[in-house]
Symmetry: C2
Subunit: 504 residues, 2 copies
Amino acid sequence: MSAQEIYDQLTEHIRKTGYLKSTMALLEWDQQTQLPNAGHAYRAEQIMSLAGLIHQREVDPQVGQWLNELAESDLANDRHSITGSTIHEVKRQFEKKAKLPQSLVESLAKATSLGQRIWVESRKADDFKKFAPQLKEIFRLKREEADAIGHDNCRYDVLLDDFEPGAKTSEIEATLQNLRAELVPLVKAISESSAEIPVEIVQREFPIDIQRELGIAAAQAIGFDFERGRLDVTAHPFCTTLGPKDIRITTRYNKNHFNGAFFGTLHEAGHGIYEQGLDVEQFGLPSGTYCSLGIHESQSRLWENLVGRSWGFWKYFYPQAQQKYSSLSNVSIEQFYAAINHSAPSLIRVEADEATYDLHIIIRFELEKALLDDELSVDDLPGAWNEKYQQYLGVQPDSDARGCMQDVHWSAGLVGYFPTYSLGNICASQFFAHADSELGNLEERFEQGEFASLKHWLNTHIHALGSRYRSSELVEKVVGQPLNHEKLVDHLTTKFGKIYLLSA
Amino acid sequence: MSAQEIYDQLTEHIRKTGYLKSTMALLEWDQQTQLPNAGHAYRAEQIMSLAGLIHQREVDPQVGQWLNELAESDLANDRHSITGSTIHEVKRQFEKKAKLPQSLVESLAKATSLGQRIWVESRKADDFKKFAPQLKEIFRLKREEADAIGHDNCRYDVLLDDFEPGAKTSEIEATLQNLRAELVPLVKAISESSAEIPVEIVQREFPIDIQRELGIAAAQAIGFDFERGRLDVTAHPFCTTLGPKDIRITTRYNKNHFNGAFFGTLHEAGHGIYEQGLDVEQFGLPSGTYCSLGIHESQSRLWENLVGRSWGFWKYFYPQAQQKYSSLSNVSIEQFYAAINHSAPSLIRVEADEATYDLHIIIRFELEKALLDDELSVDDLPGAWNEKYQQYLGVQPDSDARGCMQDVHWSAGLVGYFPTYSLGNICASQFFAHADSELGNLEERFEQGEFASLKHWLNTHIHALGSRYRSSELVEKVVGQPLNHEKLVDHLTTKFGKIYLLSA
């Protein structure tokens, strides 16, 4: 068989696995949005059974053979070509999976399933001691996982690689340290500012049907295509891909808070625009799949914050909002803009504003790395957590439930995931600044309701490439510079400097 | 291996196939209710791929081996036991599938997929000549299918068996002929009656949100469990099972017609109550699966017509409806009852009333049997159709689109399906009459809003048995008599005799 024939067989195999994976996404989406109460037990069985079929296809030894032959062929020469990225990326994933003993896979599945249950109960009871043994077990297994796969004396590299392929902990760590050094004083200055922000404006009454209508209008305005997607309600918002032209986003509404659903919808629409911008012909293959979680988050944050919370966006959109909401009738755009951008140190990550958000992430990154490296024991986690919140944000958690037990991630075995949120913010600022310099003043375009050129720029330079480049390579390729925190700091310093009347 | 061990392996295999089949049901439900417009092409690929996996598992030679061994074992002795019905019914289906050459399966899939497309176009253009060649091809392939599976000189038996396992054409034919002989004069008498039915009452304005609310209230009242199900909107209403505790029904609303959505919801809820009443432990196995399409339809028709269109039901439910609809404020229950039960010969099956409905079915049964037996040529179908409508219902189709091209069934290869609708009506009347005699006056219970005893009776005598009995056996077991049209004729004669003031 020629290399091309082997390649065609491999990609056909992957496409067929893709049918099952996207069907799995439907089972899960339906579970969150539609499933009758009594249907959950059977749904779990359906999902487990399908996961088994998918796993079987993914570790099929035939795939390993094909990959070995293809790795030696010309098709693999250019790592950034469609064929090259397919061969290298599928091989990387295949080999990673093959190195994990079945017994460890099962132990992890069991420990994290149990872990999430215990986490829910412990958080509810604010009882960290109840959670601690299971968290220890999970970190023990994650160490075992990292060692089974192998590393150069940095276990965190292995786990990070699941979410940010090829990323190096040392580089991420340096970037986040630099960011922290800039953010801590900025956040302090904001919290000490004497500027009075009329934050109660966004806590007035916002009828849910109007929230939905305006959320859809805004998502459509920035380029989310409802012919290839939909918006539903879930307890925990997400974006999921059920097919190359079936990208679904969700949000949740609070009739007494404007920000949550509106910016949540823009955030998920940003994820959705990325998914809708991937190469349809390569669906399910690396060149038709998102690059990394960091890059994915860069797209959601870019549309949520750099566009959605910008002055230009509201110059365009505020008249619509003001017309629909009687609670805004006496509110000027200046007041509204300040209110949606109110910033203050807080305890809860998912409610944090643009300026403080990354400090929440940096705390988690530093702690999970210390836990993984056995430099911090699980028993000492609450103390270490509270200390860092005091140090970086100047606030003290009033409980572990609202402290180190607030996130599901660790209980679900997601270690190495948190930094991708900040990578997203950092990359978003780098991409946005570069698009701004290439396209001309973006903010003026937004004032006219013109978002298409930015979307087109992202489509061309980022989305169309799928994962043909590693995230670090992609950043360099797009902006001509490596990952760097400075654009994000510039953006936050300028924006919040104006709102909070800070001296430069 | 012991027979029990083999049996456990077989049922484990079937349960796992069940995960895929119920997942397929979700892919299809979502396609009808949720899928974004652009998602249909990929969804079709997902469905085809999953169908392939299901088929593979169903014709797995290992299954054949297990079945052969089990057929000789004690577990197979009692055809009506859980194990016996599983072995015999799975074996029957396995052998039927095994007899079909792969090439014929593919030809049929292609011809019916194309057939439905051509049907849509031909019906739209009212052009039977365009449809005829494809219809000929489909009937040719259905003959080939019947011959491949084998029969005692009656091809129709083989096709009927897909929907009504074990049923004999000769018996069905005799029953339908008897029914026809009674219905033709009854329908004539109704249409010649001088009674004036205020039919415009049900054509007033009925806001859709209230229709939905009352439909749910009625479905709940008769016993459809929304903890284990839901109600959505689709162009073509249906009931589908996505899991033992996840039964979904759909309807469609017309704000200027009361009957469609209300009785449609009760109809689908009737199907749903059957599915919710099956043995959860045996889900996916014959003893946890509906008996036949005829029995399924008996449950939907029973709740729709014998309960939902009864005087007792409306004595209970009319005050609610009248309170919600201002358009009913000046309408007496007597007028309303007459209006919802208005009967008149018409052209369109799916809009036909309780008294005329079965004549539409009988026409289709007689014609499809003649087509299959080559006693009628496809070219002569429109003429034969119109003649029968004139003869049985006294009306003449104004076009083939509203005549012999109105139903999708034949274009989709569903030959032998139509009689199950009338079997449903016949069985429903037999079951209802028997329940009435065992439980006491049901109509009085309905007046009190008491539907639980009837539902419980159906749960016990019909639903809980799954397909451990053939439909003909089930009827005999439940009512002590074979399938017989008389109870249905009694019901219609009495009911419409009163409404249309017919002399007995």
